[in-house]
């Protein structure tokens, strides 16, 4: 089998048919050559792109702040479109991002589900989540809480940079960037209303409502998105490491409210986002609580931005922007101290950023800029807790400088950049990066080397005596081959080395939480993806693998007697995403995720030692059907997530005494969308 494999691969890639050119469809020569000059500008050098080519040639911003196609962008990038999200019936970002190679989820504490990548736990400030340029990661611990949280119906596209992004984005992008771009007035039909209802085996899964509206008038644009919901993490039983249980229905509420509004006029834009995420939990840190209690996450974001081109030839673009965000995460105010400790801290971050982009020639571009921000944190609780400065308020200050050069030549695109952050407490972090990319006819390649860092957050600084940024080096190589006009195969290899990771530990003797830099971390692996897109629909298959063999590991993250894997995350994962258009009004989308074996701590033995358990591989199978056309503007979707009722659990990726948290049981979904088209906002 092993010997046959490379031969089979060669057969498919180099068989004669693969090189056969067909005569382009005969066009009406008379009409074609009498095109107007305006129509001439629409001509493409390589003809009318296939649907796949349109997708893979679309411009990506996240990996370089300069639009480049996905195949030439200096990052390992996955592009997720609103079509894929809509067709799959994805309930939330967990469903969307689980289909990305290398991305997985685990439980932290107190019902919080966080993200991991390439085998590594990336929950605390290691993957940057952006919504329309606003950093969702809260500054206290750097986390994002996933699960019926962010409105997937408002998403136009997601650019997932499956690799480091600190050279552009700073200290929360050590392992990756998830850049969510919501629909603007030019994307929206007028007003779009949608409602989603999900029913798990024994309880309501979710009841969500979304409204999106947009209006465009000459140079002015207004966009509004409103999302309100009620959801449940799971209706399964949760059992802590001591054997205590409760049923999660009614004890694991996930209730979001998300408003996103923006205006734009010529080069000026303003955005305001409000995000309230009310959760109910009972799992605590280790032992379950006697009753559920609320933990709320509140965020406000405001941005003012201007982008102006300077000079006759408009080679220089200057973009100043001001951002203010105010976040109160993990807010626990509960009367009964026996249930949970009060925790209420707020942070305001004020950021001023200016960047300049200069096109020296059509092929050479420079970007440079500077950013300053101030974090101001308050301890709002009435108890005697305070920050490490002995006060109820603390301020930190950070300045950053960044530069990037991009040169496109006939043989290779060359990109080099660096960012320097200087913080008034943890010192500085300098992260350079360099990359070579090129698409030549059917093939493309990328060779990337980046440094990145994870900035210590407010609570990391607060709960340590001395802390530094953790520094990471990543080497990535990608190769791709467009087998036909409708199919593309890509494979990439990565190697991650992290030095001085910021580790949490609980001091039993002092009964205090602590953070410190210790040891190392990292992984290496392979990710493969195959995409096919045609008039009948599309097919996406990906496989990802990681290994930590030979890498430094922290005891709390490793699997005893298994040197190649870490807790919670499978070394093998595969996804299958299919969409079939059955006629003009019906589409059927099955999705499958194969999740390989995982390990997690599930209990303690009589000596108080944690007991590890192997979780067998499982298959998450889903199906969603969309029907439209039977009434104007109306689309109905029905489906089922986790058809096989696999009883999936989120495992804690470190030995923190939290038992695996059950995910949703089999959930039946019903979704209805109604769109009212505004004739004036139709695309030209």
């Amino acid at each position: 089998m092993k010997r046959l494999l490379p031969l089979l691969l060669l057969f498919f890639l180099f068989e004669k048919d693969a090189f056969q050119q067909t005569t382009p469809a005969v066009k009406d020569t008379f009409d074609f050559y009498e095109m107007s000059l305006e129509q001439l500008l629409q001509m493409k050098a390589h003809g009318v792109p296939s649907e796949l080519e349109e997708l893979i040639n679309s411009l990506i911003l996240a990996a370089s702040k300069r639009p480049l196609t996905a195949r030439e962008s200096p990052g390992i990038v996955t592009l997720i479109t609103d079509e894929e999200i809509r067709n799959s019936g994805a309930r939330d970002l967990i469903d969307v991002l689980r289909l990305v190679p290398g991305i997985d989820f685990g439980v932290d504490v107190e019902g919080v589900v966080g993200i991991g990548t390439r085998g590594l736990w990336a929950h605390e400030g290691k993957i940057l989540l952006l919504i329309d340029g606003q950093e969702m990661n809260e500054p206290l611990f750097g986390i994002n809480n996933f699960g019926n949280h962010f409105p997937v119906d408002q998403i136009k596209k997601i650019e997932v940079v499956r690799g480091p992004g600190s050279a552009i984005y700073g200290g929360f992008a050590e392992y990756g960037v998830i850049n969510i771009i919501t629909k603007s007035a030019t994307d929206l039909p007028g007003v779009s209303l949608s409602g989603t209802a999900g029913q798990m085996r024994t309880s309501m899964g979710r009841r969500n409502f979304n409204l999106s509206a947009g209006k465009q008038s000459k140079d002015f644009q207004f966009t509004l998105g409103a999302f309100l919901g009620q959801g449940t993490r799971s209706d399964q039983d949760y059992t802590d490491i001591y054997g205590n249980s409760y049923n999660m229905a009614g004890n694991s509420n996930l209730d979001p409210l998300h408003l996103n509004t923006a205006i734009a006029y010529k080069g000026f834009s303003a955005r305001w986002i409000m995000d309230y995420y009310e959760t109910t939990v009972r799992d605590g840190y280790d032992i379950i609580k006697s009753e559920p209690y609320p933990i709320n996450y509140t965020s406000h974001f405001t941005e003012l931005k201007y982008s102006g081109q300077i000079g006759k030839k408009k080679k220089l673009t200057i973009t100043p922007k001001l951002n203010m965000k105010s976040q109160t995460p993990w807010e626990t105010i509960w009367d009964l101290d026996t249930v949970a400790e009060d925790y209420s801290k707020s942070v305001q971050r004020y950021t001023a950023n200016i960047s300049a982009s200069y096109n020296l020639t059509r092929k050479i571009n420079f970007i440079a800029g500077a950013e300053v921000y101030q974090d101001k944190a308050q301890d709002n609780s009435n108890d005697s807790s305070f920050f490490s400065n002995g006060e109820k308020e603390v301020k930190y200050f950070n300045q950053a400088y960044f530069i990037q050069a991009l040169a496109k030549t006939r043989f290779v695109n060359f990109i080099a950049g660096a960012r320097m952050d200087i913080h008034n407490v943890y010192g500085h972090a300098f992260v350079p990066r360099v990359g070579l990319t090129k698409k030549i006819k059917k093939t493309h390649f990328k060779i990337l080397y980046s440094n990145s860092f994870r900035a210590p957050t407010i609570e990391n600084i607060n709960l340590s005596t001395e802390i530094s940024p953790e520094l990471t080096q990543v080497f990535e190589v990608e190769a791709g081959y467009q087998i036909t006009r409708k199919s593309l195969l890509t494979a990439n290899f990565f190697d991650i080395i992290t030095k001085d990771p910021i580790i949490y530990f609980f001091d039993d003797s002092l009964q205090t939480d602590n953070y410190y830099n210790y040891g190392g971390a990292g992984s290496r692996g392979l990710e493969v993806e195959y995409r096919m897109r045609d008039k009948w629909g599309y097919l996406i298959f990906n496989y990802s693998n990681y290994s930590v063999a030979g890498k430094e590991k922290s005891l709390d993250y490793e699997v005893p007697d298994n040197p190649s894997m870490l807790l919670a995350f499978p070394t093998h994962k595969a996804n299958f995403n299919l969409n079939i258009k059955a006629g003009k009004y019906l589409s059927i989308s099955p999705t499958l995720s194969y999740i390989g074996e995982r390990y997690g701590y599930t209990g303690i033995d009589s000596t108080g030692t944690s007991v590890i358990e192997k979780f067998p591989s499982l298959l998450l199978a889903n199906i969603f059907v969309n029907v439209s056309g039977f009434a104007k503007g109306l689309t109905v979707g029905i489906g089922c997530y986790d058809i096989l009722d696999s009883k999936y659990k989120f495992i804690q990726p470190y030995n923190g005494y939290h038992a695996p948290l059950p995910g949703p049981s089999r959930e039946f979904l019903f979704k209805i969308t109604y769109e009212v088209k505004n004739e004036k906002t139709k695309k030209p």
Partner: protein, 176 residues
């Protein structure tokens, strides 16, 4: 990962490659019909001092564009002049032409053609980007989104007594 899963995944993967290969057309090739359309518009919007005789287009070496130009010549004329397409095998052949097209693979021929065509009313169009700065009158540009554009070197046009309409200049990028 147990063997059954491994082999199932491999089988599914190869099945998908098979399905993907049902499409015979290979990955995106250069659309020379689009390039020919542009050349036809250059013929329409550039003025030559002489309007007599055939409009001869010389293609340097072999290129798929020759076939497209011959198709064009079957149904269209260049301001009333019959379009004839010839192969240029040496720079002297270019003296017969009203327009010379240099395919990307023959870009190195530009220098010799420049010397030969000094002062002659021949429009030299190069396929490869950047050659308008090196002596071609017009060279094509492929934008990031695959849009086909062109650079214009007006100094070169003036030196060859060729006049270009303002409407065409607006569509391209002036590099000289």
């Amino acid at each position: 990962m147990n063997r059954l899963w491994k082999y199932s995944l491999l089988a599914a993967f190869f099945l998908m490659l098979l399905l993907g290969r049902s499409e015979k057309v290979h990955s995106q090739n250069v659309d020379y019909k689009a390039y020919t359309l542009f050349l036809y518009n250059f013929m329409k919007y550039v003025e030559w001092p002489t309007t007599e005789g055939d409009f001869i287009i010389g293609v340097v070496g072999e290129s798929p564009i020759k076939k497209e130009l011959q198709e064009l010549g079957k149904t269209k004329k260049a301001k009333g002049r019959k379009i004839v397409v010839i192969n240029i095998t040496n720079p002297t052949d270019a003296l017969l032409c009203s327009m010379v097209y240099i395919p990307s693979s023959k870009s190195s021929e530009l220098k010799a053609l420049k010397e030969k065509l000094q002062g002659k009313s021949v429009l030299v169009v190069a396929e490869r980007e950047g050659l308008a700065k090196k002596g071609a009158a017009i060279s094509f540009v492929i934008d990031d989104d695959d849009a086909l554009k062109f650079d214009i070197n007006k100094s070169v046009l003036d030196a060859h007594s060729l006049k270009i309409a303002g409407t065409l200049i607006k569509l391209g990028f002036l590099v000289g």
